[in-house]
Amino acid sequence: MRTPPPRARPALVRPKVDHRGARPDSLGLDRTFVQVSVRDGLRDPDSEKALRALAESLPVVSVRFVQGYVLEGLSQESAGRRAADEVIGDPVTQIWSVDGIPGGVPADATVVSVLRRPGVMDPVEASVKRALAAVGLPVESVRTVRRYVVRGSRGRIAEADLVAVARERLANEAIEEIHAGVEFDTRPVHPAKYRFQRTDVPLRAASDDDLVRISKERTLSLSLLEMRAIQSFFKDAGREPSDAELETLAQTWSEHCKHKTLAGEVRFTGQGGPRTYKNLLKETVFAATKTINRPDCLSVFVDNAGVIAFDEKHGVCMKVETHNHPSAIEPYGGAGTGIGGVIRDVLGTGLGARPFLNTDVFCFAPPDTPDEKVPKGCLHPARLMHGVVEGVRDYGNRMGIPTASGGLFFDPRYVGNPIVFCGTLGIIPRELVKKAARPGDRIIVIGGRTGRDGIHGATFSSVELHEESETVSAGAVQIGNPIEEKMVLDALLRARDEGLLHGLTDCGAGGLSSAVGEMGAETGAVVELAHVPLKYPGLSYSEIWISEAQERMVLAVPHANVARLRVLCAEERVEVTDLGEFTDDGHLRLTYGGEPVADLPMEFIHDGLPRTPRNAEFTPPAPKPFPWSDASHDLGKDLRAILSSWNVCSKEWVIRQYDHEVQAGSAVKPLVGRKRDGPGDACVMTPIPGNPRGVAVSSGMNPRLGDLSPYDMAANAVDEALRNLCAVGANPRRAAILDNFSWGNCSKPDRLGSLVLAAEALRDVAVAYGTPFVSGKDSLNNEYMVDGRSIVIPPTLLVSAFCVVDDVRKCVTMDLKEAGNLLFVVGVTRDEMGGSHFGFVRGADGGAAPRVRTDEGLAAFDSLHAAISAGLVRACHDLSEGGLAVTLAEMAFAGCRGVDASLVQVPFEESGDGGVRDEILLFSESPSRFVCEVRERDAAAFAAALRGVPHARVGHVTTSDRVVVRGLRGAPAIDEPIDRLREAFVAPLRNG
């Protein structure tokens, strides 16, 4: 689709990158500027892409893309030329130069250059250094530059105009700087060394106003009550806190790390009467898992990810994270580090799990949102979507982990606050699920170096975004380096297999502060911060302590194993640093160069957080009947409109950019059918090469129901995730599920009220279905403040489900297989048009929310699973957005087969005031329903397997190229060529 023209935006303040007296080019080394470009006459996709981006806003006739490398430290010109000739330039397709733009700059051209701001991670630097060192050309630093030589179609384009558009289209000023002109200052910035000085924060005498001010100024995101608790602790201690101590508490007590709302006291009023939870999460989600008490749950809610049994030797684990706020500011880096972080979560589960699948679910405002509807300070949703997809793509693909499950949702209310869910599954030997750091173990950090990236990520994610977030929070942006993380993965799994580790966790939000604090919670720890290897000098001890630099893992290693770990990591070229020791005194002690900078009891860090009871309320909207009109409608047109709606339409453009085949494990792929365009219900992966035992993975989510009924929304999300598993042949009774809440600011009672209802539904439905929650996460401040007004996201609950499949060869896909086979509908349809996609495309609001009836659902899942296991089902697809009509259409075009069906026999039960009508049978979104394709000879056996479950034969598969569905009166209610339906489905996001 087209992206709209650029908007005026507020002047950008440089991000707060503090170089502490840095002097440019302080090393006084020579620089070589190697510039590379594709030869004339050859096609260059990079130039073409830039041309497309710029031509939407400027009269541009051509763009030449030039990749630049500023190499520092090659003293002879000949060495610079060698670097270009022997390593950087490609003799087949490229031209290059070390003294200017290769090929020259035409008189009517304008040049714009984009490069990373100083201090922003550039993963290319390490690779270029390595390649040059390999050919005997060691360099001190490398900066990469993207340059665009732009020619106008109506004369030269003014530099200011080009820069204005480049700002929107070619660069992100949160992390990059833009220069106009052929010449610009390429000098690298080398920060000066840090001079130690302990900083204490006067807190004991502070007034309440002072406390609030200190919290805000230092981005601690602590409430007055929490600041008072800290003040009182230090009054008792008889001293002032150091900045590192304050930061430690702020990180550990952050909403992001502590989940203080969900784990706190909640007093609810409204729907269903007043009730109080002492600990909402414990009494709903955790309680369900406890009640179900399934023996195959090996580890739940205690580790980075929940683990269930895979086979006798292995467990399988899953974790899903949100990375919303970083993605709003810098979608590529934010989403990339989102997936990078959740991969480390799995890698850090037990003593190390091997990741075998990534999942992703994103929510944006519609990509065709008019420009004037995008509030100031926000990136346009189309740009956000592209950046997020590319970020996840580049990180996941480079890690060699397939991404084969996910979804995209659109609602205008995500405009200021996109939602980015990233998930990872891993496989782990069962005996390695448990871990514990012991006193005397060394505290070892491996992986990437520490820089200023991502400082205050944990506390930043715990506040609302606002129109200046882009400027004030740039420090919170993280840039990932997936190759570093792959090296860490390789080293770590070797160390695991050699039995070198006692404990392990990832460095995520809160950095070392959270990782060491968590691992040493039961023991105590001493850490020497001056030992931490840095990307560049100048970091203070507290910056080192809370930096969220990526690709680091913290290990507890017995003294005797450290030497072996060093050898192994050297082979993998992974840096190993010994930071200190786990102790037995229950204190966290930090030093910098031997000077004490923090000393806090673990007990206060982990249990000192004062609990704030929160009020929650929810009043359901008054019931409203669906506004049926008696005018005749073309229901085929409604069907195509639903297939073309943003939430339903094909996501192939995204899916194909992800490697879903790496590791050679995919047995049921994300797109299925003869033309590989059918949306599969769940993916099925085999994590062990050659072994047909698999894991099916799915998700359920429907924010459209959230406004109507948060309880039913949550219940439907669980049902959808499980019926997706059932549809591919997995047994939902063996599934485990995860909850991810993304909500508005839950200190406001109405936001929290809807969350309480959703949590209650999760508890009720999980218990009824026997599916334990094994992990979860919440993100509770998804609002965007602009001009004093808050844009709140719709309540967004993602339920992810995974399930072991004994033999993937028994799985089924949703594409129709053979003409002549019979079609059955399984499950009951009711008049539940509330929140439906039919209502959405008709612009009609009303109707009851679909209600999950777990007794019906369970019976349908059990019987259908038995039928699929017995080989009686050729194709199966669940009914979700768009109901029966969409399901039949998708099965038909995926299988390149026609359908002849009738609505007369579809099992229906009256639940509302009105009677039955074609539209309800076709488009109602009642849960726990499926369509199955069954061979005629298996029909009796299928019916026997489904005994007791409402089901009906509704038609058959044809050789024709049409989907024909006859209405209650016998005439076709829908009669559409499958090519037309496919085109409706594919068109909206064909090219992103």
Partner: protein
């Protein structure tokens, strides 16, 4: 029969080593997965192997361009050793990123007149983006130890830089004459492939090339990802074989290495 020793060479960012080793093992080889770093100081350790495979991945993040950094690291000692081994009859296979590495290292296409220089490159896909999809290959050479001329088989591709470009037309002419154009993309009917059947826009549909001896093969698609009965996307139709068609490439290699 003895199992020939096969090496799967990995480095930072290699990520298809496990499934590649699995396919080789299934085909009857005895497989080691070893880091490139182990050979930089002692390249003679390579001589223990009859088959050397460069698997897929993103070595060094594809920084600068795919395969460049890996190629630079191999240049001084590993590449010369590989050349000696190839002339002694060892088999070398590069898959996806491995293909890109062999091309940067001048081990492919290594036409008669190359003198060891880089003669070709794998340029960015014309779509400008990474793509993962199943495609169909046709074997267009009878010179290659890994392949049987005329066979077609389905395997997935997953890459952003797969467009095979030669330095000039003379390289292509020499390659054609020597039977080095080994594999091409074809469409569902076996005819010339247009996008998406030709996912990168590579000229003449070239998907894989061999050296003049036929004992060095590089290809963009992933044969190791079509090995099991459940790999092919059509397996639920019940029309696909009990063993993935990609396995035959590895079986041929093992047979030729014995």
């Amino acid at each position: 029969m003895n199992a020939p020793k096969a090496l799967v060479m990995r480095s930072a960012g290699t990520n298809c080593e496990r499934e590649t080793a699995h396919a080789l093992t299934r085909a009857g080889a005895q497989v080691d997965i070893v880091h490139l770093g182990q050979f930089l100081e002692s390249p003679e350790r390579l001589r223990a192997y009859r088959i050397v495979v460069f698997p897929g991945g993103f070595s060094y993040g594809d920084d600068i361009a795919s395969g460049v950094v890996f190629g630079a690291e191999m240049r001084n000692r590993v590449t010369p050793e590989l050349r000696r081994m190839i002339s002694d009859g060892a088999l070398v296979l590069g898959i996806c990123n491995g293909f890109q590495i062999l091309v940067r290292a001048g081990l492919l296409p290594a036409t008669a007149d190359s003198g060891g220089a880089q003669e070709a490159t794998l340029a960015p896909n014309l779509t400008g983006r990474y793509e993962c999809r199943w495609i169909r290959l046709e074997v267009t050479t009878d010179r290659c130890a890994f392949l049987t001329k005329g066979e077609t088989f389905d395997v997935p591709v997953a890459h952003a830089e797969g467009r095979f470009v030669t330095k000039d037309e003379s390289v292509r002419t020499r390659m054609r004459a020597a039977g080095q154009l080994a594999l091409r993309y074809v469409d569902a009917e076996g005819g010339d492939a247009e996008y998406p059947w030709n996912p990168s826009g590579t000229e003449d549909g070239v998907a894989g090339v061999c050296d003049p001896t036929g004992r060095v093969l590089g290809l963009m698609p992933h044969p190791e990802r079509n090995v099991e009965a459940w790999h092919h996307p059509d397996w639920t139709l019940g029309t696909t074989p009990a063993e993935g068609a990609g396995l035959s490439l590895f079986r041929n290699a093992v047979r030729a290495a014995r």
